[in-house]
């Protein structure tokens, strides 16, 4: 085995990852703030009023990135859960634990902003169509994961039980994603996809993509801070954590 992969594995231990995560935070938090400022300026000031939807369409600059993140964070949680189950790795369980609240937050934001967009666009705040219902189920999966963890005192057991829940629930992700194709939904189909030309003006598309990158960087930064707190909470009794907490910023 090469020394390179050994060095990589070193960071799989919470004690080594704690200071690394601390150093990484500003590299994600600062770009997140700058991208959000640029995206908000483009989306709220520069982008023109939509011919059909008026200014209500500007909600999509947060709705679409939040909805993407709500699904993406769940997939990343499923990845860490699979690692945690297969290798019984402590840090992987902690990563899944750290991602869940932010995933739940983005899911709520996607539902909230979608509702406020749906009222002027479709005449209703809510409909039980496949897209919205499956996204609501995603919110319950996040809540269920957090509640399950909360109910189990032993963190390693909570990792395993949570991982099973997340991996079973991952079936909901393709259902959300393809719901607008599989069912005749009130929710419209994809406006942006990798396979077809985007059905929106370049300036609107740029604002939406910049906001998407802002949410990515934000999610990484906030998760890194939360995982540091979790590392201390779970390993604080062991000597290294107390030393780190005092010595490393």
């Amino acid at each position: 085995m090469s020394t390179g992969s050994l060095r990589w594995f070193k960071y799989a231990s919470p004690a080594s990852f704690f200071p690394l995560a601390g150093k990484l935070v500003p590299w994600f938090a600062v770009p997140a703030a700058l991208l959000a400022a640029a995206g908000l300026y483009l989306g709220l000031v520069v982008a023109p009023t939509d011919a059909q939807q008026g200014d209500a369409y500007r909600i999509i600059f947060i709705h679409v990135p939040a909805a993407w993140m709500s699904m993406f964070i769940y997939v990343v949680m499923a990845f860490w859960s699979a690692i945690a189950l297969s290798f019984n790795a402590r840090l992987s369980g902690m990563m899944a634990q750290a991602l869940a609240p932010t995933g739940a937050l983005f899911t709520f934001i996607a539902l909230w902003t979608g509702s406020l967009w749906g009222r002027p666009a479709w005449g209703t705040y809510w409909a039980w169509d496949a897209r919205m219902t499956s996204e609501l189920i995603l919110l319950f999966l996040y809540f269920g994961y957090l509640a399950l963890r909360g109910a189990i005192a032993d963190a390693r057991r909570a990792d395993r039980a949570g991982a099973v829940l997340v991996l079973v629930g991952v079936v909901n992700i393709p259902i959300i994603y393809f719901s607008v194709k599989w069912w005749n939904t009130l929710h419209q189909g994809a406006t942006v996809s990798l396979t077809a030309a985007p059905k929106m003006a370049a300036i609107m598309l740029s604002a939406m993509l910049i906001m998407t990158f802002a949410t990515w960087f934000y999610a990484i930064a906030i998760t890194l801070v939360r995982v540091r707190a979790i590392i201390l909470e779970r390993e604080g009794k062991s000597g290294w954590a107390g030393e780190l907490a005092g010595a490393v910023q």
């Binding site: 939040a66 909230w112 707190a229 907490a245």
Partner: protein, 51 residues
């Protein structure tokens, strides 16, 4: 475009600002909560190491 026009959002101000302000508030709350959690965890770990 005047500032009044900007806030009116062509009559959709309630929906647009309802979406943006709630999102902003939730993000601010999350940042504050996570920072408080890390501060608290540091204090607890510090206390644990001194025992």
């Amino acid at each position: 475009m005047s500032l009044t026009d900007f806030f009116a959002m062509g009559g959709y101000g309630f929906y647009v600002w309802g979406a943006y302000l709630v999102t902003a508030a939730l993000i601010v709350i999350e940042i504050a909560a996570v920072r408080a959690r890390l501060r608290n965890a540091r204090r607890m770990a510090d206390a644990g190491a001194d025992e």
